[in-house]
Each structure stands twice: as structure tokens, then as C-alpha cells.
């Protein structure tokens, strides 16, 4: 299907009815656009000739809000961008402000941060897997994935009191100490995940419908990935070992032993396999981090009033969806002068047109799902 070449319709349309081309709006209320994405499809029969994304339906001006809030006050807002991976967002923001302040984060805080962000990666991938399978027509995985995701959310709830928009980290470290059964719950979750991942593989990996719907669909090769600035599982599925946790380790990721899963062709099936394997690797990291959880303080030396010196800082981390960057400019006052976010979903969505051209309408749904977008982050 993906091999179909893009030929302009040979016969010039005389009347409207003769025309083979059709412009179709998909979304913003389409359930498989994962929120409020509107895609304008140009179709020739069932074949997609081109797509155009219309975004901004969920725009809340988060970057502008930052200019009117103090550094601490803005921290809960970043959770509302990629609300599926709120912990990663919080980590990126806190690290950027810490870089501005030149503040040290104690090792215990670092380790807890790693555990929580990896848990969040599992939660985010589970939500992706469930909804992506649902888009393609497999109804069961979504229930199973949400059941396991619930266990992750319970850890978040016990740790910081919120499930989704966690606000788990504070600038300079953590606000909350871990609770009594934290380590045990994390290890139990790793055991559970390893067992349940087998179940998902049983449901999907060998399933011929799933394979037919995903193999060879939405191919984005390595060169294109680089051209579009695509990051995260998309670029790894195209065969490039690019993971910021290895490429520029932060938060002590250099101390953990894990692999970067990659695949070759960069189609939807490969991205599925890469994400499944990433969950296994996350479990590995969580195990190591829990085993070696250091004692000590959880908050570094930052004052009650956070007033970074004038300057700018860019910090990027490997969020579940790709490279998440925060660029903060400080003018020496209590509020940031400018905050700019590099959201992975937004950049990855840019490759949608490239991936969709020549495929079928039904595959567009699969391709949107495989990019793993969260519109809160795309629109900010």
C-alpha cells in the first residue's frame, strides 16, 4: 500500500462530479485523532494525496502564562502540556531552572526522579498502546493497558497525592519523601509489567490482522527522521540509536545499565516493537534505581525565593515521546522572562504528511496513533 506512487489524476476533471480528488476533514472531534487534531486530507479515492494539519484547538498560552508566574508557580502548569507524561515535563522544567540557578540536586532526589520518570514512561506507553490498538480495531488491549496503568497511577497517587497532573518535583529536588511501601510497589509493578507484556504480545504481535495493518504502513526512514527533526521511538524505529538518556546523560542515567531498542524499517510495526521493548528497559532501570536508592536529603540548597541570575538555559530530556526541551530566559527577576518548550509531539507531528502520502485513509488513523501525539503538548 505504501508503494503507491503519487500520480496526478490523468483525466482533467470537466465537471465537479468527474473529479477524483476529494478534500476531507478529519477531526477535530474524530476519536482517533487523540484529542483535537484536525487533519485535512486530500484524497483520490481511498489514497491519500496529501495532508494538512490544523492545530491550536487546545492552545492555552502556557508559555505566556509562565511570564506572569514565579518560577515555582509555573511548575504545576507544565504538567498540563503532556498530561500523559506529566512527571517528565516536570523533570525537564525543574532541570532547566536548576541549570539557571546552578543548583545541585542530591543523589536521593535524582534516583527518585529517575524511578518516577521511568514509571511515567511505562504509563505513557501503556496509554499509547491501548489507544493505538483501539484505533486499529483491537478492542481488548485498551482495557488491559488501563488496568496496568492504574497500578502506575496508584504509585503516583501514594507518592505525591495526584494521579495525572502530579507536580511531583520541585526546583532543587523533591517536596515529598518516599512512602513506606514505595520500593516494594515499584518492584511489584516491574514484575507485573514483565508478565503482562507477554499478554500484550500474545494479543497483538503475532496477530495477523495487527501485522497486516501495521507492517509497511507509515514508513519514515532514517534520513527523513533527521530531516524532520523527529525524535523518540520514531527515530529509534528507523534504526538510529538516539536516546538522550545515553547521548547526554542527566539525572544519573549514566549509572544505569540499559539498552536502546532499535528496529530497521521505521514502519508502524517497528515503532510498536520499539515501544514495547522500551517498557522492558524502563523496568530494568527502575529495578536498578530502587536497589541502589541512596539515603540522604531530598532537596538541594535552593532558597524559598527563587531568583536566578540573568541568563538563559536549555535543557532537554528524553520524554516518552521524544526530546522534550525547555529553554528559559531569566532577567534576574522572580518571573521567567521567556519560556519556550520544544514539545516532542509537535515536532513529530510535522512528519505526518510525509508518512501519510500514498497510504490509505484507514492507515492515516494508524499513523496518527503511531506518532503518539498529545494535543495538550502540540498546542500548549
Amino acid at each position: 500500500m505504501a508503494e503507491t506512487t503519487l500520480a496526478p489524476p490523468e483525466v482533467q476533471a470537466e465537471t465537479l462530479l468527474d473529479s477524483n480528488e476529494l478534500v476531507l476533514n478529519m477531526g477535530p472531534q474524530h476519536p482517533s485523532t487523540h484529542g483535537v487534531l484536525r487533519v485535512i486530507l486530500k484524497l483520490d479515492g481511498e489514497t491519500v494525496l496529501g495532508t494538512d494539519c490544523v492545530i491550536g484547538y487546545l492552545h492555552r498560552g502556557v508559555e505566556k502564562i509562565a511570564e506572569n508566574r514565579t518560577f515555582q508557580q509555573f511548575a504545576p502548569y507544565v504538567d498540563r502540556m503532556d498530561y500523559v507524561a506529566a512527571v517528565s515535563n516536570g523533570l525537564g522544567y525543574c532541570m532547566a531552572v536548576e541549570k539557571l540557578l546552578d543548583a545541585e540536586v542530591p543523589p536521593r532526589a535524582q534516583a527518585v526522579r529517575v524511578i518516577l520518570t521511568e514509571l511515567n514512561r511505562i504509563a505513557s506507553h501503556l496509554l499509547w498502546l491501548g489507544t493505538h490498538a483501539l484505533d486499529i480495531g483491537a478492542i481488548t488491549p485498551v482495557f488491559l493497558c488501563f488496568r496496568e496503568r492504574e497500578e502506575v497511577l496508584k504509585i503516583f497517587e501514594n507518592y505525591c497525592g495526584a494521579r495525572l497532573t502530579t507536580h511531583a518535583f520541585r526546583i532543587g529536588g523533591l517536596q515529598y519523601e518516599t512512602y513506606d511501601t514505595f520500593e516494594k510497589q515499584c518492584l511489584d509493578l516491574c514484575d507485573l509489567m514483565e508478565q503482562k507484556l507477554k499478554e500484550y504480545h500474545d494479543l497483538l504481535t503475532g496477530n495477523r490482522i495487527w501485522v497486516r495493518r501495521t507492517k509497511g504502513v507509515g514508513i519514515l526512514n532514517a534520513a527523513d527522521c533527521k530531516d524532520y527533526g523527529v525524535t523518540g521511538p520514531l527515530i529509534r524505529a528507523a534504526g538510529i540509536e538516539w536516546d538522550l538518556r545515553k547521548a547526554q546523560p542527566y539525572c544519573g542515567y549514566e549509572n544505569y545499565d540499559f539498552d536502546i531498542p532499535t528496529a530497521e524499517t521505521g514502519d508502524t510495526f517497528d515503532r510498536y516493537m520499539v515501544r514495547m521493548e522500551e517498557m522492558v528497559q524502563s523496568c530494568r532501570i527502575i529495578r536498578q534505581a530502587v536497589d541502589a536508592l541512596p539515603e540522604g536529603p531530598i532537596k538541594g540548597k535552593v532558597g524559598k525565593v527563587i531568583k536566578p541570575p540573568p541568563g538563559e538555559a536549555y535543557v532537554s530530556i528524553e520524554a516518552p515521546k521524544g526530546e522534550l526541551g525547555y529553554y528559559i530566559v531569566s532577567d534576574g527577576s522572580l518571573n521567567p522572562y521567556r519560556v519556550r518548550v520544544r514539545p516532542p509531539s509537535f515536532v513529530n507531528l510535522g512528519a505526518l504528511d510525509k508518512m501519510c502520502r500514498g497510504s490509505l485513509v484507514a492507515d492515516v488513523v494508524a499513523i496518527i496513533g503511531t506518532i503518539d501525539i498529545v494535543l495538550g503538548e502540540v498546542d500548549r
Binding site: 508566574r69 508557580q73 482495557f143 492504574e150 496508584k154 505525591c160 495526584a162 515529598y176 494479543l203 503475532g206
Partner: protein, 151 residues
């Protein structure tokens, strides 16, 4: 050959279906019957706000320092006080908290120096009017009335 058998017997599809059916056992049902059984929430849950009072004298713990109002990103807390000429301290007069705009981030709770303001485990905050979302001091001290839902 194995592939051919697979094609005829649809073993891969049956394998998936078997996984589905394995989860049908009643012991594996995880659905919570919410309005009937209230799920327990975590100890640290950030829900409805409460203004703590002294357990014996039932005087408010709040010292009207206004730190919570300053910490809140949404600026939804309004604290007023008047100076007591005898003790030379500030006495709390009113305390308003707009729950409708609160995002339960917990910054106010962290800012309070005497643990007077606390986010509790109550999570049923729906009201019939917008005004009902603006909690006054009395409501904050007593907490929302527990509701039992029946059908």
C-alpha cells in the same frame, strides 16, 4: 507448512482470544462500583481544602500570614485579618478559597508555616451553582458535607 496450518486454523487469532477470555474470571474483575463503594484514596491525596482548627479549643490555627495566598499561582485565596490590640497579633477574619479555579497543586499547603491549610482526601466537589465553589471560612473549617449517592 506451519504457516499454512496457521492460515487455516487461525491459531494466532485464537491465541489472542484466549488471552481475552483468560481475563473474564470474576476474580480478575477490577471495575470499581464507584458511587456505591467509594474508592480509598492515598493518604497524601490532594483534594478538598481544609482550614485546620485546634482540636481542643477549636480556634483556627491560621496566623493570617498570607503566605498561602502569595504562593498560589491562580491567586484564588483571599485572607483578611485585623490586628488584635491586646495580643498585638493578627486575627483571622475571613478566608475565601475559590475551589473552581484551584488545580490542587499543593503549593499553598507547602507554603503554610503552621500547617493550617491542608488538602484533604475529599474529592467530591461538584455543586449546582458557581457560587457554591467559593468556599468561605466556615466551609473550609467544617469541610464538605459527606454525600451518599443512591440510585
Amino acid at each position: 507448512m506451519a504457516n499454512l496450518i496457521n492460515t487455516f486454523l487461525l491459531t494466532d487469532l485464537l491465541k489472542g482470544l484466549w488471552t481475552t477470555f483468560k481475563n473474564q474470571k470474576p476474580s480478575k474483575v477490577v471495575t470499581e462500583q464507584y458511587p456505591l463503594n467509594r474508592p480509598p484514596v492515598a493518604e497524601r491525596y490532594r483534594g478538598a481544602p481544609r482550614l485546620n482548627t485546634h482540636p481542643e479549643t477549636s480556634e483556627t490555627l491560621c496566623i493570617s500570614c498570607n503566605l498561602c495566598a502569595l504562593a498560589c499561582p491562580e491567586q484564588l485565596i483571599v485572607v483578611t485579618s485585623e490586628r488584635n490590640p491586646e495580643t498585638k497579633r493578627k486575627d483571622l477574619t475571613t478566608f475565601t478559597y475559590d475551589v473552581s479555579r484551584c488545580m490542587f497543586c499543593g503549593l499553598c499547603e507547602d507554603a503554610c508555616p503552621v500547617d493550617a491549610l491542608e488538602l484533604t482526601q475529599d474529592f467530591e466537589l461538584a455543586t449546582y451553582t458557581r457560587e457554591g465553589q467559593i468556599w468561605d471560612r466556615q466551609m473550609l473549617e467544617e469541610g464538605p458535607l459527606p454525600v451518599r449517592y443512591t440510585h
